[in-house]
Subunit: 346 residues, 2 copies
């Protein structure tokens, strides 16, 4: 293990400049640097060794020059940030001691100095893969939990549609919906993902949206009686087609709109009138409002994971230098399952 | 009063053919006919003399060939239908007797045979204008009541924005919001209407959207801290601008989208992502789901009207032959207040 006080190499993934349109690997750069593994004297900071980093679609929004609610843009020339699983290497904070495993926001680099570590969560359950704490047991899992159990207002027998269904959040939502006794259909962007939805996650059905020329017709095929709940991870054209297929008093839970994050001209949604005809509720939510329920969520998920009732598929890029391509991949759908970067084994 | 059994002249407003785009007077035709004031022997029908007919924007949707939920298209060549205040001239139904005043769905004609009169409401309060029963005490009033009190989830101090604010529904919603202690701003399409909002209905402020080149900037001027509640009667560009100005956990109540009813190419809403950032709830509703509360609503409104706490402005076209132009007018905003057609005085 690294020695407190040592000077070590510190590779970093830096954003070159603000991005418009689809990001490419070239928008980021892996730079070499050094770092002393020591917190400033008298500070409450921690120094961590980053083990796993999470690729999440919201990170694209931080590459824009303009900030939106909750999302402060990245600083060009500095390492990008995101969720990670890390080990404490030095600590000036009473809550954390050297050797502790934590998850929370960290830098895309081998080692990070975290000035305000209060938001870090200690990892105390090590009978599950550590990487789960940036996936099913971290922000994406909590997002699925809050979105499904608190926003969707689902009940047994509801017909549920999920977009980006094999992704970090979608695969969990689908399994929650099956546990509740819903009829669940997902869409994804490749045959491999569609097979995964049906064989591994237990969706009742699934389709490859890229092979459908008419999304409205595709939805009518899978939901001849209409959709009670749409868990939306993509926005845009799919949301527009779903609006034509909602049941009376259906619910649309807006979780993400990855189809819109990288396009300079947004796709307009033209069918909102159907939300009146069908008395549909459309609701956006932010997982950050609900972290007071994290421990309740964690016990619930751990119990289901241990019993094998919920599974999680990850797509792991090995090495920080493969981080930029992994991050680009989740924005064009090249990943299969939750995308993460393995920075260092223990 | 007309004699039961008499043969009378019966002018009718007939839809010539399905309409695309903005309707014109020429899409309708006033035809002359005759009618015997007698229900078929053994039937439970009623024959009514129509006194007031209501011009409502949803009627545009019935001019389309394609049906949507709840809205069955008109039949070209037959009289159009809508809400009206009428007097029973003959009755085969035990609930109604000759001379009763009723409101409900009737034909755009001088006399109508209503085969299934169960949905008609008897008018028992005659200390208010009869025309109120197709306005503030009828469907538009009930829509304002349900939309504001049941869907908006408003509370004292909320900032409320209302589009088409001087119309049949908007003027009531604004007064409800003021009664609750909200800050209320409305938009409308002329100086006369803007003045009405401020002077007669007590809105805190109002603006003419036609004079604003940048709706986002206009909304920021009236709501520097953002909007808690948007009561949407228009959809389209205004809804898109409002999405940029919602407060965290704001509510958008979708009541109508008159800007979209007559346009063949719908304006896309591009800012739905902000409903995620701000955790906004967008909800469509239909007044037809709530008519079990009509009597509760009626007592509430009558009490406020009698005390002078709520007022109602009507725009009356005299004579059935002026019906088509009145109906066209509400779709291009030419009316000031609730548009109705006076077919016959008592």
């Amino acid at each position: 293990m690294e020695k407190r006080g040592a000077m070590v190499r510190n590779k970093r993934v830096v954003l070159r400049d603000y991005v418009s349109g689809y990001p490419t690997e070239g928008d980021m750069e892996v730079r070499k640097g050094e770092m002393k593994l020591e917190v400033p004297r008298g500070s409450k900071a921690v120094v961590v060794k980053n083990l796993y980093l999470s690729c999440d679609t919201y990170m694209r929004l931080l590459m824009n020059r303009t900030a939106v609610e909750l999302l402060k843009p990245y600083t060009p020339g500095s390492p990008i940030t995101g969720f990670g699983v890390s080990r404490i290497v030095d600590s000036g904070h009473p809550n954390f001691k050297v050797g502790d495993l934590v998850w929370g926001t960290t830098g895309w680099e081998e080692y990070s100095l975290i000035a305000n570590p209060e938001a870090l969560q200690k990892i105390e359950h090590t009978d599950v893969p550590l990487s789960y704490f940036i996936g099913i047991l971290g922000m994406p899992g909590m997002t699925a939990y809050v979105g499904f159990y608190k926003v969707c207002n689902a009940k047994k027998g509801d017909t549920v549609f999920i977009s980006a269904a094999s992704g970090a959040i979608g695969q969990i939502v689908g399994q929650f919906a099956k546990l509740m006794g819903c009829y669940v259909v997902g869409c994804a962007g490749s045959k491999e993902k569609v097979d995964l939805l049906k064989s591994t996650f237990g969706f009742d059905d699934a389709f490859n949206y890229k092979e459908e020329r008419d999304l409205d017709a595709a939805l009518k095929r899978y939901f001849p009686e209409g959709i009670d709940i749409y868990f939306d991870n993509v926005g845009g054209k799919m949301l527009d087609a779903v609006l034509l297929n909602m049941k009376v008093r259906g619910r649309i839970t807006l979780c993400g709109m990855v189809s819109q994050y990288s396009s300079d001209s947004k796709e307009g949604v033209t069918n909102l009138m159907h939300a009146i005809y069908k008395r549909v509720r459309i609701e956006g939510f932010a997982v950050y409002d609900h972290f007071d329920e994290y421990h309740k969520f964690l016990e619930f998920l751990l119990s289901h994971i241990r019993k094998g009732k919920i599974v999680y598929v990850e797509d792991t890029a090995e090495g920080l230098e493969n981080g930029p391509s992994a991050l680009v991949r989740i924005l064009n759908g090249g990943n299969v399952g939750k995308q993460l970067v393995l920075v260092a084994r223990e």
